[in-house]
């Protein structure tokens, strides 16, 4: 199938929002940086709204979307409900902040909100796991989506955090590096899954990804821009480049990497046997 750009941006923005909200929950839980609360929560809402808007663009008849309530086991129902619950938790968090709620309450709200956020980041990938498309029929796919949510959240948090301590910056860099390595492992695992997928076909082979028509997308978009450049940015010395600019560049890179992986997924997602 084609690149399905609306779904590419839907899942990328939703993963960004989910990753950042989990980062806010961790921030709240360990009382790290109170200044990030407001701007972080608003950024999560914007990301989820952009994701939701992108998903609507994909639909032929968005005005009939409430019909989805009749089938609570479908992927779209799970995604829609998790976006709604996560969004409500962010709104509750903002409301609690505006009412100067106790730290215990803020911790509780973000902890509760982080659960649907993690489920949502996983679910937007899990919806594509189906036997009809051998390249998608692997659990590596939703874990890769979850992984991209984590790295997107790390960079977004680094941009929004105000005057972080040296200790926090070091910890955050180590965490981001670890998650990027994990994401690289997941990409390798996806290639292994492609190689072992049933009904092998040139249109979805690992060779096609590594050396064929999708090699520029894979090596350029996913490996270099999505993994190596962001990793390199986390190793920069503080004096060499402004930290926020570095984190912004990193976020742009991992977002492009996440989108590139989704585009690749759609392009290798050919059916078992395509008639028409």
């Amino acid at each position: 199938m084609g690149s399905e750009w609306s779904l590419v941006f839907f899942t990328s923005f939703v993963d960004l929002g989910c990753g950042l909200f989990v980062a806010l929950a961790i921030n709240e839980w360990f009382s790290i940086n109170p200044q990030v609360r407001w701007r972080g929560a608003i950024a999560v809402l914007v990301a989820l709204a952009l994701g939701g808007f992108s998903s609507v663009l994909h639909l032929g008849h968005p005005e009939r979307i409430f019909g989805a309530l009749s089938h609570p086991t479908s992927g779209i129902f799970i995604e829609s409900s998790m976006i709604a619950i996560t969004g409500m938790c962010v709104l509750a968090y903002l409301f609690a902040l505006s009412r100067n709620a106790t730290h215990q309450n803020l911790k509780l709200i973000t902890f509760i909100g982080a659960i649907p956020a993690v489920i949502l980041a996983f679910a937007v990938g899990d919806s594509y796991v189906m036997a009809s498309r051998p390249a998608w029929d692997t659990l590596v796919l939703p874990f890769a989506y979850l992984g991209s949510a984590a790295v997107l959240g790390c960079f977004a948090y680094r941009i929004l955090v105000v005057s972080p301590s040296e200790h926090l910056v070091t910890r955050l860099k180590l965490l981001t590096q670890g998650l990027l390595i994990l994401q690289a492992i997941l990409m390798a695992a996806y290639l292994v899954a492609l190689s072992n997928a049933p009904y092998s076909d040139a249109s979805r082979s690992a060779t096609q990804v590594l050396m064929g028509g999708f090699s520029a997308l894979f090596w350029g978009g996913i490996v270099i821009i999505g993994l190596l450049v962001p990793f390199g940015l986390t190793t920069l010395k503080k004096e060499s480049v402004a930290p926020v600019m570095s984190a912004t560049l990193g976020l742009v890179c991992v977002f492009i990497g996440a989108a590139a992986f989704r585009v690749l997924m759609f392009n290798v997602g050919t059916t078992v046997w395509q008639f028409f």
Binding site: G60, H71, S132, G269
Partner: protein, 212 residues
């Protein structure tokens, strides 16, 4: 009850009448198909080469994955076992298109909904057979209830013998459409087909188009 189709590939001459009749009867848009005849082969080495024609349609699966993923219930299985789309409640999310192992569904750009072969339910309602069955000049297509041992379709299958009955690759969807092909005609090719004369640059190997 399970209405489906048996297609005798020993009889099919590749005239494409079924394709055209389907498009005419169902007003299928240009570039879109509910029913398409693929050319399988030639396979083998000259002079021992083989070729057959494979008319493809929705496989009316027993465990249709398109029905399971539909968020609104627009994709459903009727009482006679036919897998259908209720266009009135379809939201056009194309999930069912992703879930179909054969790409047998297409997106109607004008109506913004997904559509597919209905086994000409409107003709069945007035006691007729699907257009592709009616028009087939070599009587290659048989339509009926495969669960009824006395139906024409069951008789055709019994006469063909189990060794000569084939189905398309099954990824857990259990296709109900059966193909009859005797070895004397050609060897059944279980791998995706290569179109030899039409759409050679998009013959199912370059990725599937949702809408032609």
């Amino acid at each position: 009850m399970k209405n489906t189709m048996v297609i005798d590939l020993d009889r099919c001459i590749g005239c494409y009448s079924c394709e055209i009749a389907c498009k005419m009867e169902n007003d299928v848009a240009l570039g879109v198909y509910y029913n398409k005849v693929l050319t399988i082969g030639p396979t083998g080495t000259f002079p021992d080469i083989e070729q057959y024609f494979l008319p493809t349609i929705c496989q009316q699966c027993y465990d249709a994955p398109c029905v399971g993923v539909c968020p609104t219930g627009a994709a459903y299985k009727a009482a006679d076992g036919t897998v259908l789309v209720n266009k009135e409640i379809c939201i056009g999310c194309k999930y069912c298109m992703m879930a179909c192992p054969y790409g047998a569904r297409s997106f109607n750009e004008a109506q913004k909904v997904v559509e597919k072969c209905t086994l000409c339910g409107h003709l069945q309602a007035i006691g007729e057979k699907p257009a592709c069955v009616k028009v087939c000049c070599s009587k290659a297509r048989t339509f009926g209830d495969i669960d009824d041992p006395n139906s024409d379709i069951s008789k055709v299958l019994r006469e063909a013998g189990s060794d000569n009955i084939h189905t398309l690759p099954d990824s857990g969807n259990h296709p109900s459409v059966k193909y009859i092909l005797h070895r004397k005609t050609a060897a059944w090719q279980a791998t995706p087909p290569k179109e030899t004369w039409r759409n050679s640059n998009q013959s199912g190997r370059k990725g599937d188009k949702q809408h032609g």
